[in-house]
């Protein structure tokens, strides 16, 4: 099988390898940024949806609920396309950086924004699950100690809620790493998209002058192994955290 050897020789080409490694870095950075910003934005959404129940603030609850439900029930790709057209692009970012051309930076900014919006809606529901799991007695205890609602949230309820959802949030990082491959659709420069680009120009690197089926197996196989290593490590971490909770749950349920 000399075509197979030719395909494997691509992976020993330093140029190809660096190109792919940069793709991995973009995938990881993009996913982590999306989840971190998603936690911030998602927490706000979850708090508003859960606790804005008075007559004056009900409209905010309705808005947060609408946001969460709309994003949860439509595909990510639709939001990537919508952001490509409608998202305003600040002039200050319109230059080349991170080794990308200015067009690529623009695409990255817009598609990443869509990913963040989408991820926030999912994380909002995760945070809400954590908030609902906090026993009601905790609120009453906080009130009796003279905390106001903001104090109760910051010092009592949110820390417990976040501790409960650590495994779920880690799983969400896995999902976001996988979701970030949707950005390959609009030629954003991450691992999936770079693999696909390489396949298109494999005939330059493998020395046989044509794209063979073995190139598909080698290139996509390589990407699969990378994704698998990253995600399997994370899911093993999730299982470990689930088995060894840092603070044991109280034996008696209150509320």
């Amino acid at each position: 099988m000399d075509t197979l050897e030719a395909s494997f020789s691509m992976l020993t080409n330093p140029g190809v390898l660096i190109y792919l490694l940069k793709g991995i870095a973009f995938t990881l950075v993009l996913s982590v940024v999306a989840v971190v910003l998603g936690v911030v934005f998602g927490s706000v959404l979850a708090l508003v949806r859960n606790y804005c129940t008075t007559k004056k603030t009900k409209v905010f609850k309705a808005l947060a609920t609408m946001y969460i439900e709309v994003f949860r029930n439509t595909p990510l790709l639709l939001w990537i396309f919508i952001c490509l057209v409608f998202l305003p692009f600040p002039k200050i970012l319109s230059r080349s950086m991170f080794g990308l051309t200015s067009v690529e930076v623009k695409m990255l900014y817009k598609a990443a924004f869509a990913l963040i919006l989408f991820t926030s809606s999912v994380i909002a529901e995760i945070v809400r699950g954590g908030l609902n799991a906090v026993a009601h007695g905790q609120f009453e205890a906080g009130h009796s100690q003279g905390f106001n609602m903001v104090g109760i949230m910051i010092y009592i309820v949110l820390p417990q809620a976040y501790r409960n959802i650590v495994p779920t949030l880690l799983s969400q990082v896995i999902t976001t790493i996988k979701d970030s491959s949707y950005l390959a659709n609009v030629a954003v420069i991450e691992l999936m998209s770079r693999t696909k680009t390489l396949l298109g120009s494999a005939y330059i690197y493998n020395g046989t002058g044509t794209v063979n089926v073995s190139d598909v197996f080698v290139l996509f196989g390589f990407a699969m192994v990378i994704y698998f290593i990253i995600n399997f490590a994370l899911s093993s971490l999730v299982r470990y955290v689930q088995k060894h909770p840092r603070i044991p749950k109280p034996a008696v349920k209150t509320g």
């Binding site: 709309v70 439509t74 396309f81 996988k178 089926v213 197996f217 994704y227």
Partner: protein
């Protein structure tokens, strides 16, 4: 806003309404076949994972981990290009159905495994003591009890599956999102971004929202029931 408020753009949508109907039909067709395939794979591998036979459990584990830890788009591209470059292309829609079915089959298998795992051990022993074979035990005793645990996450998977039909775009797909995109960028039809995205988003929402609401409603009633009968959660923790 991309012609969201222009009558011309909306008229264009109406003239080319067949595009959206075709896209919805393709998405529906694809989702239906993929769903059937994923149910089948989920049941087979879920039962394998709970069979107690080590080799079968390992096979099921490898399938689930391999599929769940790699992106759907990558699997789809792999399948499509491997078939295309070896000269066995089977068309975009069938490729999408197979890839989607295999991907969500892994998730369904986990759902089935968790559902069966939540049934107390005594039920298996009781069924065995009454002389049921494996199929009878599953069909008459175990599955009817686990179906209420299985259903909510399964419906969530159905919603994800419908949303994931959009992955077909990367291989030049024929699903709703891909057709919408080629509609708004087409030479003779282009421009009506706002209305076109609104229509296709709305179509997805109308299908997915009732399903995901139903799933979370079921989940909540299940949780309430669990709180009332404290025996069930204890046995789940025991079985680990």
């Amino acid at each position: 806003m991309g012609g969201l408020f222009s009558a011309d753009a909306w008229e264009k949508i109406w003239v080319f309404r067949d595009t959206f109907i075709l896209g919805l039909a393709n998405t529906g067709k694809m989702a239906a076949v993929a769903l059937l395939l994923s149910f089948l794979l989920g049941l087979i591998f879920g039962l394998m994972a709970t069979s107690g036979q080590k080799p079968l459990e390992h096979i099921s584990r490898i399938y689930v981990e391999l599929i769940q830890n790699t992106p759907l788009i990558l699997q789809l591209c792999f399948l499509y290009y491997a078939l295309a470059f070896s000269g066995n292309s089977i068309g975009i829609l069938p490729t999408g159905m197979i890839a989607l079915g295999i991907y969500h089959g892994a998730y369904m298998s986990e759902v089935v495994r968790a559902g069966i795992g939540a049934i107390p051990k005594g039920q298996f022993e009781a069924a065995a003591s009454q002389g049921f074979g494996y199929i009878g035990e599953m069909y008459y005793v175990i599955l009817p009890q686990s179906i209420k645990i299985i259903l909510p996450p399964m419906v969530n998977q159905v919603v994800n599956l419908i949303k994931n039909t959009s992955c077909l775009y990367i291989i030049g797909g024929a699903d709703l999102i891909s057709l919408t995109y080629s509609f708004v960028t087409g030479a003779s039809t282009g421009g009506a971004y706002g209305p076109a995205y609104l229509v296709s988003g709305l179509l997805f929402f109308v299908v997915c929202y009732p399903l995901s609401t139903l799933a979370s409603y079921w989940e909540n009633t299940l949780k309430l029931r669990e709180q009332k009968t404290q025996v069930v959660p204890l046995t789940i923790e025991e079985r680990g």
